[in-house]
């Protein structure tokens, strides 16, 4: 942006792949003129979409809640809707989430990612007789879920984790493990032992080498690496 407040073109280089016409992906450069009120990268992408409607990307809420517009922005994963245009080095290079199969342009196949999420049983398990009203928690018990329940499953973390790149079929990945710890921590859940036993596996949990790329890129500032640290310590307690 120039000193006079006059808008300038933003150069954006985007990974393009159309499975119906392309044998392999290519990069395409665009110049986009942001209009007043276009503050985020997603605004620029929406602008581009009006010029080239073949450009494909996911987006929905445009405010970091739905987790749809995760992508690799200048070499780091993030949400387009939470990334300010102002701070980006040009050309802004956009690629799909690393290691995920590309369906088209910036849209990746999240099937495996969600399969891991389902595998950790992301729901409360409690075989005890249900009370007449809801199962109560003390404020302290509720506080233990802070930093865990906020995950929006955007996959920024898992798609930035080298261990997940090498074993996406076997390693649950940071997102799934954060979710696993969310239910392990829940005072209303009675399946902690089973959950821990499921995770005690050389692939599911122990591919993590505490690189912390997950925590580096989480757009909600959560710490999957901390959740993994707590799971491992819980397993140590369990085994001794």
């Amino acid at each position: 942006m120039s000193a006079g407040g006059e808008e300038e073109d933003v150069r954006i280089s985007i990974y393009r792949f159309n499975p119906e016409t392309d044998a392999k992906p290519r990069m395409q450069d665009y110049d986009v003129m942001p209009e007043a009120g276009d503050k985020k990268l997603l605004d620029a992408l929406m602008r581009l979409k009006t010029v080239d409607d073949s450009l494909s990307f996911r987006r929905s809420c445009r405010e970091g809640v739905c987790g749809s517009d995760a992508m690799n922005i200048n070499g780091r994963n993030g949400l387009a809707c939470l990334t300010s245009l102002a701070g980006l080095k040009e050309p802004v290079v956009l690629r799909p989430l690393p290691g995920f199969p590309v369906i088209r342009d910036l849209i990746v196949d999240m099937t495996q990612f969600f399969a891991h999420y389902h595998a950790i049983k992301p729901y409360l398990i409690n075989d005890e007789l249900a009370p007449e009203r809801e199962r109560l928690q003390t404020p302290e018990e509720r506080d233990r879920l802070n930093g865990l329940y906020e995950c929006i499953l955007c996959a920024c973390c898992s798609a930035f984790c080298p261990s997940y790149w090498w074993n996406p079929d076997k390693f649950i990945g940071p997102a799934g493990l954060l979710q696993a710890y969310r239910f392990i921590s829940d005072s209303r859940d009675t399946a902690t032992a089973e959950r821990l036993a499921y995770l005690d596996d050389v692939y599911r949990l122990y591919r993590c080498r505490t690189i912390m790329n997950c925590t580096e890129v989480c757009p909600k500032s959560l710490s999957p690496s901390h959740a993994i640290e707590r799971i491992r310590l819980a397993l140590v307690r369990e085994s001794s």
Binding site: S163, W166, N167, D200, V202, Y206, R209, V236
Partner: protein
């Protein structure tokens, strides 16, 4: 039983790391405190009953720690069972051979010294 351990391997890697750190600190302290290591001093140190046992323990810890580390690297990057299993088998054999070799060396010196 599963071929590759999860929690127990992770724990063993940490436990051997702690053992090796203590060794390293003790060795560094000894070398820095005393005069430059002469053959006489080294030989006396290494072939004493405590020294000989500690050296074997040191190599066993190194081999075990290295095994878990290299196992993790192979599990990360090499996915074909036809490559992975023979390679891991070979590495395990070499590591076991090294520890046996060191144990024999120390045993031989221990006998002659005693």
């Amino acid at each position: 039983m599963r071929l590759f351990l999860g929690q127990r391997a992770w724990m063993l890697q940490r436990a051997t790391a702690v053992v090796l750190l203590i060794f390293l600190a003790a060795a560094a302290a000894m070398l820095l405190a005393g005069p430059p290591l002469s053959y006489e001093r080294w030989h006396a140190l290494a072939t004493s009953p405590h020294g000989a046992v500690l050296i074997v323990v040191l190599f066993a810890a190194l081999a075990l720690h290295g095994w878990i580390g290299i196992r993790d690297i192979v599990l990360d990057y090499l996915h074909s069972p036809a490559v992975r299993l023979p390679l891991l088998g070979l590495i395990a054999l070499v590591l076991i051979a090294i520890v046996i070799r060191v144990a024999l060396t120390m045993a031989a010196h221990f006998m002659t010294a005693g």
